[in-house]
């Protein structure tokens, strides 16, 4: 078998994995057994598919083979009987495969996949464990791949996943078909985890962005999968649109030296037009439902940026309104802070400053708060106060990248607001 063949089969296994493992989990009611059965079936696929050609329905094939292998395993350990040769069992299966595939109960597959995703976001698990578990179980990434994406050792990641699995087993998995309310709760949980996975990749700084980019791609794949299962859920459309629109900018987000390029400074010709088109189509569809939600609102904001051919064409007034809606849907000081940036563009720095003043106590340790506040002060010509805010921002920066990011923000605002005046700033030294 050529390497290319193997690569294609691996891809087919990846794409069939959520449905197959989800079904096996329903049969065996145990995650480890389900995973093992799937691994077994995958090994057989690598042997059989190059000879017999891939089956028409890989997921159905893997479910049948995985289930039979696991049942045989149980029999074998019980009776110590010799089994027929693998190949014999497989060729029988191939003959019957078409019929079997038709007989497989397809009506379960939505809930199978949703359940599989849902157990990864068990509320008792910390977010880091949820993400690791989802990438391992649903996406089928190896521990090594996940460890690499999270910049931790293989051993640490192995431990993280083992702990998460133990907690999930302890908590028990809900196997009865969910009711409507429960299903929508599960969907919300799964959407949140997909967004977390995306953000892990998206918020990477320049030097790790490339290593972590697969997280963004995987989140998009999972979001599309979820949307295919639940085609009329506007929030899932919103989530998918949001991450597509954000990821569409990835080629323009970092300079050659790895530093972040702000939205206004990005070369928009580097944005991925196909991804933007898909994101815009999804947000258009979602809006027709008239059932707004946080993902849709954020996607709508991202869409307004994507639709602007130049920064000057950005519809800041609309963005301001959308952030207002987001404040109602999902109140958070960070949302208000983001809104203030739009307000500054629309109604000027004083209005923006008035908006964020009440946040000072809540965001006392949030470096962006001081960066943004400093910028508004500077636009108002209150440079001394601005410098105090900037210093505070840089002192609060968690990484040199964050500090650099703030400084860049500052530099740009100096440029924008005071084109003819250089302003001396203390605290602008690299941290």
């Amino acid at each position: 078998m050529s390497e290319a063949d193997t690569a294609w089969i691996e891809t087919a296994l990846t794409s069939a994995r959520p449905q197959a493992v989800g079904a096996l989990l329903r049969y065996f009611r145990d995650l480890d057994t389900a995973e093992e059965a799937f691994q077994n079936a995958s090994l057989r696929a690598l042997k059989s598919w190059p000879q017999n050609g891939p089956p028409r329905d890989p997921a159905a094939w893997l479910i049948m083979v995985g289930r039979n292998a696991a049942i045989d395993e149980v029999r074998r350990t019980r009776k110590q009987q010799p089994l027929p040769e693998d190949d014999q069992a497989i060729s029988d299966l191939d003959d019957a495969e078409g019929a079997l595939a038709e007989r497989l109960d397809g009506s379960h597959y939505r809930d199978d996949i949703l359940r599989l995703m849902f157990i990864c976001c068990h509320p008792q698990l910390p977010a880091t464990q949820q993400i690791a578990l989802a990438l391992r179980i649903v996406s089928g990434l190896t521990v090594k791949q996940i460890a690499r994406a999270f910049l931790v050792s293989d051993a640490a990641m192995e431990q993280r996943i083992t702990r998460a699995k133990a907690k999930v087993a302890e908590a028990g998995t809900p196997f009865e078909a969910p009711g409507a309310i429960e299903r929508s709760e599960r969907l919300a949980g799964v959407a949140a985890i997909i967004y977390l996975i995306f953000n892990e990749g998206y918020s990477a700084s320049g030097d790790t962005a490339e290593i972590r980019k697969p997280l963004c791609e995987e989140a998009i794949r999972l979001a599309r999968l979820l949307l295919r299962l639940f085609q009329s859920e506007p929030e899932i459309m919103g989530l998918t649109a949001l991450i597509l629109l954000q990821h569409a900018r990835s080629a323009a987000r970092f300079a050659a030296d790895g530093s972040l390029i702000l939205l206004d400074d990005q070369d928009r010709s580097l944005w991925n037009g196909t991804m933007i088109a898909e994101g815009l189509a999804l947000i258009d569809k979602a809006m027709r439902h008239r059932r707004s939600g946080p993902y849709q609102i954020q996607a709508a904001i991202a869409a307004l940026h994507a639709r602007a051919a130049t920064p000057e064409e950005t519809d800041w007034a609309q963005i301001d309104l959308l952030y207002g809606a987001l404040e109602v849907a999902q109140p958070s000081p960070v949302v208000t802070l983001n809104r203030a940036v739009a307000v500054a563009k629309v109604r000027g720095p004083q209005a923006a400053l008035d908006l964020i003043e009440p946040l000072a106590s809540k965001l006392a340790n949030y470096f962006h708060f001081y960066g943004v506040r400093g910028a508004f002060l500077m636009q108002l010509g209150r440079n001394d106060e601005a410098c105090v805010a900037f210093d505070r921002a840089i002192a609060l920066a968690n990484t040199s990248a964050e500090a650099a990011h703030i400084r860049m923000h500052i530099d740009r605002l100096i440029r924008d607001s005071q084109p003819k005046q250089g302003v001396a700033r203390q605290g602008a030294k690299a941290t």
Binding site: A7, W8, T11, A12, T14, S15, A16, P54, R56, D57, P58, R221, R224, L225, L227, R228, Q231, S232, M237, T240, T274, A277, E278, A281, L282, K285, R288
Partner: protein, 122 residues
């Protein structure tokens, strides 16, 4: 005679292709397309965005808009070619050449009744 060659494939599978795999397939398809272009036989070609981006209008009164593609099938319509061929055999040959570029999926070959190339260019 013009034939529409409609490309069907499992969207989840195609969506799981790595960037490299996708580019490799497109490169192989481009070779087939180039040959047809040289022969002056290739009309419009479209690769469609995922069915998750689709909406379907049902002709009721008033029309009903549903999310997703018209048909829920194991394999989805992912794109199409319009090619000039003498007969079905020739059209099937073209479909075969296209099919050699990637594993799995199917091509529906359908004669075109009315064809207006239109004036769009991207």
């Amino acid at each position: 005679m013009l034939y529409a060659i409609l490309c069907y494939h499992d969207e989840d599978f195609v969506g799981s292709w790595s960037k490299e795999q996708d580019e490799a397939v497109m490169k192989k398809l481009a070779v087939v397309q180039e040959k047809l272009t040289q022969q002056g036989r290739l009309g419009p070609v479209a690769r469609l965005l995922p069915t998750t981006a689709a909406a379907t209008l049902r002709k009721e009164d008033p029309p009903l808009v549903l999310d997703g593609p018209y048909a829920e099938t194991k394999e989805q319509l992912l794109g199409f070619y319009i090619v000039d061929c003498k007969n079905l055999d020739e059209a099937l040959d073209v479909a075969g050449d296209l099919g050699a570029a990637n594993p799995g999926g199917a091509y529906e070959v359908r004669p075109v009744g009315v064809f207006r190339p239109g004036g769009l260019s991207t």
